[in-house]
Amino acid sequence: MDVLHKIPVREQDPKVRATNFEEVCYGYNEEEAKLEASRCIDCKKPLCVQGCPVSIDIPGFIREVKAGNYEEAAKVIGLSSALPAICGRVCPQETQCEGRCIRGIKGEPISIGKLERFVADWSRENNIVPAVKGEPNGKKVAVVGAGPAGLTCAGDLAKLGYDVTIFEALHQPGGVLVYGIPEFRLPKEKVVAHEVELVKNLGVKIECNVIIGKSITIDELLNEEGFDAVFIGSGAGLPKFMGIPGENANGVFSANEFLTRNNLMKAFKDYDTPIMRAKKVVVVGGGNVAMDAARTALRLGAETHIVYRRSEAELPARVEEVHHAKEEGVIFDLLQNPVEILVDENDWVKGVKLVKMELGEPDASGRRRPKEIPGSEYVVDCDAVIMSLGTSPNPLISSTTKGLEINGHKCIIAEESTGKTTKDGVYAGGDAVTGAATVILAMEAGKAGAKGIHEYLSNK
């Protein structure tokens, strides 16, 4: 066995999967998982754990996998994470646990994400219910939003005995896990619905179709509905646009709209919600959401281009997503930026004017700042443009909650370690606080919020 390299994971053939929405990666089987686990040298001071936002005992669960004790492995993970089948699929492991792995110095790191996924999938297939409810302590907590932050916070609080109700604005729980991340990366029924079910098994109630700030306010939850504390995990908000000419033309979509139509509203199946099946799509942006939008457009039948203003090294997306997108045939047009969207006489997109870019000095984020190359503009034909430029926070809660302060970016101000906001009894975390980030960082914030609320209510 080659200990320097990961046991390869089986995947759907790129040519085939480019035309369907089935999951790309098949994951490890028992034999492959055991072999991969045997590469772990069980470090005394495991750096991988430091790299994990929710501090899973990684060598601990891998040890159990090595021995074939998958149920024990699930228990070890369950102590720290309520959503392992999701994290095993969507975490940016290369910059977290796997990025710190000692094995990575001389060869490839242990495939921690794929092992986590294996354990979670195995326990689902074998009907293992990992965690147990806590003894009821008589205290009620409301959680706003059933996305990764809210589900994690609710799960942790339920384990401590709190009576938790999650209020979700959409018609299905999951947040970005259902509306944002596509089926081919994160199966909705098999994985997301199951992990939501596990949170419900802890006694958590989920009320969909309730918009906190509109249907009922935070103050009403605290003063009239008998909740002792509230956690806000309402997620990211309004999609950003570039402000260039032609951006409101027909055929220009935010990635949020395009993905929501396809993922939450299942436009790729025989559902009523329409989606544009374009011939040639330009996706603007280089993050995971841009990759998801591009790979979705490709599967709906379009020639798909990613336009990103920096170079490949700066792409914020997970390496695996970029790799998969390329394999499937997404074309990367790097160091270019749109300056105008060209429209036909009926205001439909007919092309994009791009300008070439070069990298200058590093900016505040440490990445080299892209600069336009004067006179390098050129036009590419396309019939749809998808803007994937991030989001700015949703005002629904902050504008209806007195005493809840927001910062200059309109994000809710909250302490990182406890989620405590400027309003008594109100905690917050995830994208609503940090702006658009990752699933696992939202989960970390959900855990911090649960800890903060537990401390607050224990001392009250």
Partner: protein, 296 residues
């Protein structure tokens, strides 16, 4: 599930339903809207709230068949249920924040076109319930498509009904009585509130611009989530891009880029047409829509 307590056809393709939705009924205000979703496969349909009963926890909706999901909605009867109803969404009308004493000094004219009568009604009712006067113009294509006449009559100070084809009362679109009232009958309006199809709101705005009357319109663009997430409902308002769901739905009608807003309504015209075709043809559908792949 959200139970339907009453369901009736008001006119051709126009339906009225009373639905149990306690979270909306407890807090909704004039100007706000809600979203319904029929079943698993249904679209999220934004609809204005026509009336509400806080005690019973019910809301009244009125909708017109425009696509596959609204067609399927029209088949529902009392006792059936929507899988999802969510709201209230959007912002309440500006006037509810004004002191009543200030509003007493102002003359409002509400202009409703077609199913726009539904969202206008709770606003006029609010005026009536607060002891305020207002005029209402109710316009529609012909006598058979007229809705809400009695309801509006009971709450408006003066109601002027008009039909495009002259089959009932005043002959002409809503601009005809509006122009007549202001130019010939000495009416002075401080605010016009116009709600209806985009083309009707556009023409009311062109007229009120000329008459120099500030005008509020309620926009009903394409939407998915209705909470500010998708950006499908974006509109050019003056030199700003606004989202109808979180910034509206009511805007200064004189600042709206109407031609852009109307073109954006066509985004899914073909797809919607195909979906309707598939629905109408039922089991006899063999993929002629070019959409479902049944012909391949």
């Amino acid at each position: 599930m959200y139970k339907i307590l009453e369901a009736e056809m008001l006119a051709d393709k126009i339906y009225r339903m009373v639905v149990e939705a306690p979270f909306i009924a407890r807090s909704c205000q004039p100007g706000e809207f809600l979203i319904t979703k029929l079943d698993d496969k249904g679209e999220r349909i934004p609809l204005t709230i026509c009336d509400y009963d806080r005690e019973k926890g019910t809301v009244t909706i009125i909708f017109q068949i425009v696509g596959a999901s609204t067609e399927r909605m029209s088949w529902l009867k009392a006792g059936d249920a929507f899988e999802d109803v969510v709201g209230p969404l959007g912002n309440p009308s500006d006037f509810i924040k004004e002191p009543i004493e200030e509003l007493k000094k102002k003359h409002y004219c509400f202009v409703a076109g077609g199913v726009g009568a539904a969202p206008v009604y709770p606003q006029v009712k609010w005026f009536h319930d607060h002891g305020l006067e207002c005029d209402v113009i109710l316009g529609t294509r012909c006598k058979d498509t007229l809705i809400m006449e009695k309801e509006l009559e009971s709450v408006a100070t003066n109601l002027y009904v008009c039909t495009d084809d002259g089959s009932y009362k005043i002959h002409g679109n809503v601009c005809v009585p509006l122009e007549d009232l202001v130019k010939n009958q000495g009416k002075k309006y401080d605010v016009v509130v116009a709600i209806g199809p985009m083309i009707m709101m556009k023409f009311v705005c062109l007229l009120t611009k000329e008459l120099n009357i500030p005008t509020i319109v309620s926009m009903n663009p394409i939407m998915v989530d209705g909470t500010g997430m998708c950006g499908a409902c974006r509109l050019q308002v003056g030199d700003e891009v606004k989202f109808a769901c979180v910034d509206g739905p009511e805007f200064d009608g004189h600042l709206i880029d109407w031609s852009l807003a109307m073109k954006r309504m066509n985004t899914y015209k073909t797809e919607e047409g195909r979906a309707m075709l598939k629905l109408e043809e039922g089991a006899t559908h063999h993929g002629g829509c070019g959409n479902c792949g049944g012909d391949k």
